[in-house]
């Protein structure tokens, strides 16, 4: 029998329950979606027609998760603007560079030190460097810290990271998806990916007046279909030339952000991003069998978490110092940017798509689970943590 709709129903119900539980416990929803997926993965028991293994629907759920990534990155592109980044100023550029410099270097060192090859190490560094915009923004709002002086710096660094993510994903996808083996081939495919991005951006910029006219559609339905068509076509086409779909989606977002229809698109996309985004985390959880988690992946993740905590805290202190923030505010910067989430998983998925070591996915899952829970907690308790560290290192007040 074909129970595919029913199975999807159960999957969405599980996601909803996980989300409800998370909001009851006042935690970020991200780890709960992943945990829900892990709990019912391919090894879950079957109760009559309640088949939690999602055999029939596995492909469909996976596909919906893929759509989730596309929407997540599309929205990121839509929200991003160069004007904003330029306005955010020099302190952000310095802070962001410090932050990424420290964390990326630590990630690379960690990858090499634990004996991975260069491709795996690059993926690991990507996973550990990029924090979650969604979690950080939400934590700031929840903790009523939006008016604090360090918040501008935090959001600026996050934005800076988003740019880094875009460039890094494109280089990485050129490197991993093309299947090139020689250094020349790798460089060529990375250059190809970057060139493709630039090409779309340049053409997109020129096409803004035309797009403004084309998108002048009164019917919401037709408007939505047109936008979605552009999004999926370009994301899909990107994949055919070995550029991650996520990058294609990001590019479409960046181009459409320049049009006068940006706000309308944003409004239409938001519910899709939220729904498919939730399924993305769930489907990621599904790919991980909790029983296979013992051993290496766990230790690797714990090591990376410790390294990330040290790296983020010192980066925050340094970045805060350059922006002349007080030590307490600087400490807030480092502790807030600690949360990891969607972007780490996107990078890990890219690693899986490139056929890299299978341990990367469970590693990313545990790493994100720990930091998606620990990050917001540390942000909340930043006062105590800062006082504790200040006492240990005898920092000046």
């Amino acid at each position: 029998m074909d129970y595919i709709v029913f199975e999807i129903g159960i999957a969405v119900l599980l996601v909803a329950l996980a989300g409800l539980l998370a909001s009851k416990l006042k935690f970020s929803v991200v780890p709960f979606y992943i945990l829900a997926g892990m709990a019912v993965g391919p090894h879950a028991p079957v109760f009559g027609i309640l088949d939690f293994r999602f055999i029939q629907s596995a492909e469909l759920i996976e596909f919906m998760g893929k759509i989730g990534v596309i929407f997540l990155l599309f929205y990121l592109g839509l929200e991003f603007s160069v004007g904003r980044l330029v306005k955010a100023g020099k302190s952000i550029a310095i802070g962001g560079t410090i932050y990424i410099g420290i964390n990326f270097t630590l990630g690379l060192l960690f990858g090499f030190a634990t004996g991975f090859g260069i491709k795996e190490t690059l993926v690991i560094a990507g996973i550990t460097t990029i924090s979650s915009s969604a979690i950080v923004a939400k934590v700031l709002v929840d903790l009523k810290r939006t008016a604090n002086p360090e918040t501008e710096m935090i959001l600026g660094i996050i934005m800076f990271e988003d740019v880094f993510l875009a460039v890094y994903l494109s280089v990485l996808s050129g490197l991993l998806l093309s299947g090139a083996t020689s250094i020349g081939g790798i460089l060529l495919s990375a250059a190809l990916a970057l060139g493709y991005m630039l090409l779309i951006l340049v053409i997109g910029r020129k096409a803004v007046p035309l797009l403004n006219k084309l998108l002048n559609i009164p019917s919401n339905e037709i408007f939505m279909c047109t936008v979605f068509a552009a999004l999926f076509l370009i994301a899909g086409f990107s994949e055919t030339i070995h550029v991650a779909e996520a990058i294609g989606a990001l590019l479409v977002g960046l181009v459409l952000a320049e049009t006068s229809h940006m706000h309308r698109i944003e409004k239409i996309i938001l519910p899709f991003r939220d729904f498919f985004g939730a399924l993305f985390f769930f489907s990621f959880g599904l790919t991980i069998d909790p029983l296979s988690l013992g051993g290496n992946a766990v230790w690797l993740a714990i090591g990376a978490v410790i390294l990330t905590m040290i790296g983020n805290y010192s980066a925050g202190m340094l970045a805060g110092k350059t922006a002349k923030l007080s030590p307490k505010s600087s400490s807030n910067v480092g502790l807030t940017i600690m949360s990891r989430g969607e972007f780490s998983i996107i990078v890990a998925n890219l690693g899986a798509a490139g056929g890299l070591a299978a341990i990367l996915q469970p590693f990313a899952a545990i790493y994100v689970l720990i930091l998606a829970i620990l990050g917001p907690l540390m942000t909340k308790e930043s006062k105590w943590i800062h006082n504790g560290i200040a006492r240990i290192f005898r920092l000046k007040k």
Binding site: E79, S133, T146, A147, N148, T151, L155, I158
Partner: protein, 165 residues
């Protein structure tokens, strides 16, 4: 004038930092979903902003109209008025150089001279005196709430300034 700085908070909304003439610092966050938050910065801890109030979109608009003086003009202003056809109600603040200070309402014979009535007085300490009698002494800083016809109120103003009919 208050000093207002506007900054973008990507992913959250927009922040307006205000420093008033009295060196009070407040921040107003306009969230993308329409929520407004007003934060206050206590002078003793410059990096910690305390949330004063959270408002929904509609609430924020209502309160903005109150703050903007669209439904009521504050008594601290020199004068304000409210007209109901012929009748005007005005607020009138007594200033240092006026000659009526120290005299009573009876001394000035306000009702007889102007046809207006002092319906209330707000004293410097924010204390209110509703319907002050003829023995009520006018002091600097008081705000008189006066009802009457416009012409009468004009005469009253002159009377208060010169201190005699």
């Amino acid at each position: 004038m208050a000093n207002i700085r506007e900054t973008d908070l990507p992913g959250i909304g927009r922040k307006f930092s205000v420093e008033t003439e009295e060196s009070e610092k407040i921040s107003i966050i306009v969230h993308e979903d329409g929520k407004r938050e007003i934060f206050h910065n206590p002078p003793d801890s410059p990096e910690e902003y305390e949330l004063v109030v959270t408002l929904g979109d509609v609430e924020a608009r209502q309160i903005a109209s109150i703050i903007g003086g669209m439904s009521y003009r504050p008594s601290g202003l020199e004068q304000a008025e409210l007209s109901l056809s012929q009748l005007s109600i005005e607020w009138y603040k007594l200033k240092r150089n006026m000659d009526c200070l120290g005299k009573t309402i009876g001394d000035l014979a306000i009702r007889e001279n102007t046809g207006t009535v002092v319906i209330a007085s707000i004293e410097s300490s924010r204390k209110q005196k509703i319907s002050p009698g003829p023995e009520y002494v006018l002091q600097e800083g008081y705000t008189l709430v006066v009802a009457g016809e416009r012409s009468g109120i004009q005469i009253l103003k002159q009377l208060l300034e010169r201190g005699s009919g």
